[in-house]
């Protein structure tokens, strides 16, 4: 795959376009470029990893682009993560500097760590879920970022006339890909950290004429509650959805909305391990395929393998989805050694089980590993369970993409657990169901019987 000029260089050729913010600022891309160059001038001799705490602001965007241009690798975290997550990252990766956008003004802090070697292709380290303390992080290369952006630009047909509003966090693979793709084609950006439940979000979206917005399933729930489909939004032409499976009901409602109002609606599938994107469905062109993840993104390869690792070639037969492409990460970032010598996987085992229909569309039917996705955050049930058990909690976790389910031994303090979970995951307690039990159901070979646990939980709870 031949790459175009990198987006962190290329946007500057679209001098006339600009980035807007919710504070009334406008910065043309030629001015943005000057600021990026100014920041970059101070980055030349930077060594080691930086820790970058990001938000949707002009200063943050400027620094992000300067870091990419100067090839200073960084760990990217959202400004809303807890201090515990930041501390854990500092401990794990020993960054030499911290760039913090949590307050209005940027704060640079040099740490006492000595610069350690870093793989030369490493652009950034991204947690696989927004704010989970036990999340794993992955390493993304410069090529990954560019290839992912190019592929998305192609299938979305993005042009410089587009103008996206940031409805997602900057430090989230999906949110970041919205920014990267728009810079690549020189399209406009509206930067805001307002949520869809903040009035200013809708004011900015309207007054600054956003042409597209992106959402995870939870956003579509909010949009439905706010009667989005009845809003007059003449400039808004494209909706994209990713970050977990949208309920079939909402998917069908929004598909009908898009078709009925001559808008475009893309339902997309991916993982942070693939920088963001793996497959997409242009719903407005394929209304009969709502619920499928569509087909592979341009430049990638998606196929199924059975439990023996043999490729499934027949349609309507299940297998694990395997992805190959230039956007497959450098590897997991579990330790500092990973940062020096990444695993460089040539393919991605998604852990999702699916099948291909007779028309070549992929459908996900289940999951191989124990992951759930809540509010767009991927939660590794085993990792979370281990972390909690290590702290002395006697419990097991199950759940699905609607709720985290906990089966807790009698006599433990469930309120303390709820609080701890909130601190760890920032999950609203309505998304967490706790059932206390005398004796855990176990399988014959002494393993937790998760299906039985779910049965018990669902028998007790609505």
């Amino acid at each position: 795959m031949e790459l175009k000029p990198f987006f962190w260089e290329n946007y500057a050729t679209f001098k006339g376009n600009a980035v807007w913010t919710d504070r009334g600022e406008v910065l043309s891309y030629s001015r943005l470029d000057q600021e990026v160059i100014a920041v970059g001038a101070n980055l030349h001799r930077r060594q080691g990893l930086a820790l970058f705490i990001a938000r949707n602001s002009i200063s943050c965007l400027t620094h992000y682009l300067a870091f990419l241009r100067s090839r200073v690798p960084f760990i990217l975290l959202d400004w809303k993560v807890g201090q515990a997550v930041i501390d854990a990252m500092i401990e794990r990766f020993s960054p030499t500097v911290i760039i913090d956008f949590r307050s209005e003004e940027i704060i640079w802090t040099a740490t006492a760590f000595k610069a350690k070697p870093v793989h030369p292709d490493l652009a950034l380290i991204l947690p696989t879920s927004g704010s989970s303390g036990v999340a794993k992080s992955v390493m993304i290369s410069y090529t990954n970022l560019q290839a992912n952006a190019e592929s998305i630009v192609t299938y979305l047909g993005l042009t410089p006339g587009e103008r996206a509003i940031t409805s997602l966090p900057f430090a989230y693979s999906y949110g970041l890909s919205v920014i990267n793709t728009h810079l690549l084609v020189g399209a406009g950006l509206i930067l805001t950290d307002h949520s869809l439940l903040d009035k200013p979000f809708w004011q900015i979206l309207t007054t600054l004429s956003a042409t597209s917005m992106a959402g995870v399933p939870f956003h579509f729930e909010i949009m439905e509650k706010l009667r989005f489909r009845e809003m007059a939004l003449p400039h808004l032409q494209t909706l994209t959805q990713a970050g977990g499976k949208l309920s079939l009901k909402l998917a069908e409602l929004f598909a009908a909305y898009a078709i009925g109002s001559d808008r475009r609606f893309f339902m997309m599938y991916g993982q942070t391990e693939a920088t963001a994107r793996i497959a997409y469905l242009a719903v407005h062109e394929n209304p009969g395929k709502v619920g499928s993840i569509g087909s592979v993104i341009p430049g990638g390869k998606l196929y199924l393998v059975d439990h023996n690792g043999v490729q499934v070639v027949e349609s309507n037969r299940k297998g694990e989805l395997i992805y190959e492409g230039p956007n497959v990460m450098l590897g997991d970032a579990l330790t500092q050694d990973d940062v020096i010598v990444p695993t460089l996987p040539n393919k991605l085992d998604t852990g999702d089980i699916g099948e291909i229909d007779d028309d070549g569309f992929f459908w996900i039917t289940g999951r191989k590993s124990r992951f759930i996705k809540l509010k767009g955050k991927r939660i590794d049930l085993d990792a979370l369970q281990n972390a909690l058990r290590d702290q002395g909690w006697d419990l097991w976790l199950t759940g699905d993409d609607t709720q985290l389910e906990i089966i807790l031994a009698n006599g433990q303090n469930r309120f303390q657990l709820e609080n701890e979970l909130f601190d760890l995951l920032s999950l609203h307690h309505s998304l967490v169901k706790i059932v206390e039990i005398e004796r855990f159901p176990m399988t014959a070979n002494g393993k937790p019987d998760y299906p039985k646990m779910r049965e018990l939980i669902h028998a007790v709870l609505p």
Binding site: S195, L196, L197, D198, K199, W202, F218, E221, I222, K225, L226, R227, M231, K375, E418, F422, S426, L427, H428, H429, S430, L431
Partner: protein
Amino acid sequence: MSHSKFELKQLFSSTLGIPSELVTDELAYNADPRWDSTAHLQLVMAIENTFGITLEMDDMLDMSSVAKAAEILKKYGVVWN
């Protein structure tokens, strides 16, 4: 139908997971980490169910404190005793 403010505060307390003694008139959206966007959506639905009303979009978004919620609910015929 008339309702008590206590009832409203109980609703906030149970929906947001904040002890009722901390639910004051001034408690505000986004000021407490527990009252985030997920919680706000839950709150809107709980209020609609409890009072048997359907909120306008602007009112959902304006409901940024307990006091504001009480005020907005008056528009929907809720009487505070």
